[in-house]
Point group: C2
């Protein structure tokens, strides 16, 4: 037995250290090469988190244990995600067509939130929507109406809808209708406003913002309704998104190619339609001037994919990540009807001239549905040029896609990433993996000014808070007990 | 002195070997780590080539030596390349409008070649062009006419034009007109035929090929002439190409994004024009159905750039690389009026089902003007998805762009490559560097069937033959003597 230490001394020794950094100094002084690996105990060392997680881990020899049930449920969820065929099928002239009982309801981005708790840009957008609906004649009147409880609020996600940034959907707003033709479910998203920095979705409510919404309602929406009516069977969005990934888009914060592909499809249809030339011209000018126009359809497509994956008992897969500008909330397939929330971080990235992090609102919008469906930051390896918008380097873009594979249950062979040798983008965030790895989902995002009425001030990268996932793991663990 | 060998023995020794591979075995048996570097003597060891090259190398202390003059001339050439502003300004209804004395002339791709020496696809395209011009009523009659000397042939390049693949331009064909608004020179290219595999440019001449050419002449060309007339000052192609490089194009064998950007610009103009809706529809349908439609404009843009760089005395920069399917020819800025030719290789790459390398014609077409101007394979790092068309891996795409920097005099800050940290694409092939490094320019290309009448059979990557560059170096060296 005495031979062992001396053998260790005499042979070439390399040390791998993980966790216990206090010992590194001693190893270093021995002269042996030291490789430090990042590791931290589950739940930052909380025995409760570790215990909850342990109950969700499958035992290959026990098909009836909770972990094995979760594994089977997740396989089914992945199947549904990969089978989804989101197709743009219609434009609803008004949201109230889809939800006749809306009344004075405003849908908003992220998990549930009351007026008094809303962030600046969301309050601004609420005021704008009230003015747009003519429920009030001035911003002051609008605030009074809302403060007096005259408006009901609900998350878009609970209505099968998604809204970018503040995500406000009011009864008169037209909506894109996307059907998942594999499962038959539908998803909805409002159209992207043009008009530069100041738009309702970024919390602006000036008269020109309201005019922009009216233009969408009166010109763009009827024209696009005619366009999609002219496309037999609708416009399949999965191949369009797939092609866009080969053209430098991540279809979250870069939609340049996807918008051009949409532009071409809409043009071809409109030229066959009876829509007057000036309306066609105005509509195509609007789409052609906004490289982000496709985002609404991308979000609705991802919502249509993930809603079909929601509600599979025992599944630990995230079916929505959404931010209201205060909190981030996630929905989990096997935990129907629940939100798990944590505080939203401020995105780190680039700012428009004259703005800085001090002006930035925390992470906001339903657009992280794209990351939930394996696009956005998860597919950022497809979009190296996007780092000029959100910051970082092309190598960061590759890294996000590689790292997110650690917390995903699979890869989507329909969404391939050329620079990673055409491997499929990672898809299906498993709350168990997030907690186990201590690795939070990355989201790329635009940044809104924190004050109402201001607008977009930059773009960057942010991560969903760990609390959402820890709480969801705890909730799923209670199923084991019950 | 005796200490040296023993010091060498006792210290950790690494060996770098270059050239003399015969010694590697001895080094390996010594156990020292061996790194082999690729190196070969200039001109494969020919003293004549080395001597010619030596005369062209600058001496910093002698501003009057030939090498220093070449360096100064090349700096001027680079300035002209970077200053170029290729702009699509017009469509000529017929080539004979531009060259009224054409008569029965056919322009062709690559350096000069006689009918009897032409490859199969070029012969096929000549027959097709004769039928299209109604100079003969049948393929047999057409061949008879040509064999009897009834047709004059000349390279497109000598007329300020470029043609893809066989590159045949006949008097009735419409041409894109691109102006370099920085220098005022113009360049011309025929429009891309649609119609799948069988087109005149790939050597097909069946009745439907001739009908396709008539459609271009009678529908597409007048409509696109109206479209560009409606764009004030023309369509600037440099920003369009620049944007396409950020969207996965190399604008040689991948033009998907560039074609969509063109589609949008043409649509916007046509909707404002008095062109009837059915003509607009037919034109946009044609452009929309062919992701390579932009190639003609890319080639004309590159020709407009490189012609402005041609004719600078002493410059050793290549201003054209062009292939007639038998030979590759280059033109050099300081060697006006001359072609330097070498035998064309067969592209290595992918084939359509049912075809193989045995069916492939050697490298053909004027489209290598894109590589000459720093696009195509030189910018292939921008187009990783293209390897699905030409073969290889995304890493090869990065490697081509990196390697071509060794033979280029500069980088184009207007054409940046996201995956290489937004560095400019290498531009300006210096014949001295090609010969000195023993590194031939890489060209990506489509592959034509070697028999007339067949069409496209695949795509791949090829290199220009060293002989062109060795001969051009010899010619430039004679200036030193004269």
């Amino acid at each position: 037995m005495n031979a062992a230490p001396s053998a260790l001394r005499d042979r070439k020794t390399s040390i791998i250290s993980l966790g216990a950094s206090g010992l590194d100094r001693g190893v270093e002084s021995s002269g042996a090469p030291l490789t430090r690996l990042h590791w931290q105990p589950v739940g930052d060392g909380s025995p409760e988190v570790a215990w909850n997680l342990a109950q969700l881990i499958g035992d290959a020899d026990d098909a009836d244990c909770l972990g094995s049930r979760i594994d089977r449920a997740n396989a089914q969820v992945l199947e549904r995600i990969l089978a989804a065929q989101p197709t743009w099928v219609d434009v609803a002239a008004h949201a109230s067509e889809i939800w006749p009982d809306m009344g004075r309801t405003l849908l908003h981005a992220g998990p549930p939130i009351d007026w008094k708790d809303m962030c600046g840009p969301m309050k601004g957008a609420v005021v704008g929507a009230v003015l747009y609906e003519k429920w009030a004649a001035s911003p002051a009147e609008a605030e009074q109406l809302v403060a007096g409880g005259g408006i009901r609020f609900a998350p878009c996600h609970e209505f099968g809808a998604v809204g970018p940034m503040t995500g406000i959907i009011s009864p008169s707003m037209p909506l894109f209708v996307v059907m998942n033709s594999a499962a038959g479910n539908r998803a909805y998203a409002p159209m992207m406003e043009s008009g530069g920095a100041r738009t309702l979705r970024f919390g602006a409510f000036a008269p020109e913002v309201i005019e922009g919404l009216k233009l969408i309602e009166n010109v763009l929406a009827p024209c696009l309704k005619a366009a999609i009516a002219g496309i037999d069977g609708g416009l399949p969005l999965k191949p369009l998104i797939s092609q866009s990934l080969h053209m430098g888009d991540d279809v979250h914060n870069r939609n340049t190619a996807a918008t051009l592909l949409l532009y071409r499809a809409v043009t071809e249809s409109l030229l066959k339609s009876p829509v007057p030339r000036d309306i066609v011209q105005e509509t195509l000018r609007t789409i052609g001037a906004d490289d982000m126009f496709f985002l609404s359809l991308s979000m609705a497509a991802c919502k249509a994919i993930m809603d079909a994956a929601h509600g599979v008992p025992f599944s630990s897969i995230v079916t929505a990540m959404a931010r209201n500008g205060v909190n981030v909330g996630i929905r989990v397939s096997g935990l129907e009807g629940q939100w798990y929330v944590g505080p939203a971080d401020v995105p780190v990235g680039l700012f428009l001239p004259g703005f800085s992090e001090a002006d930035a609102n925390p992470d906001i919008g339903d657009s992280a549905i794209t990351e939930t469906a394996g696009l956005g930051a998860f597919a950022m390896a497809a979009a190296p040029a996007m780092v000029q918008f959100v910051g970082g380097t092309p190598q960061d873009a590759l890294r996000y896609s590689r790292e997110m594979a650690h917390i995903a249950i699979g890869r989507n062979p329909g969404f391939t990433l050329p620079m990673l040798d055409f491997i499929g983008a990672p898809v299906g965030i498993d709350i168990r993996k997030v907690v186990d790895e201590g690795r939070r989902p990355v989201i790329n995002t635009a940044t809104a000014h924190k004050e109402p009425g201001m607008g977009i001030i930059g773009a960057g990268v942010v991560q969903a808070p760990m609390k959402c996932f820890v709480d969801a793991v705890a909730a799923l663990a209670t199923i084991a007990v019950s």
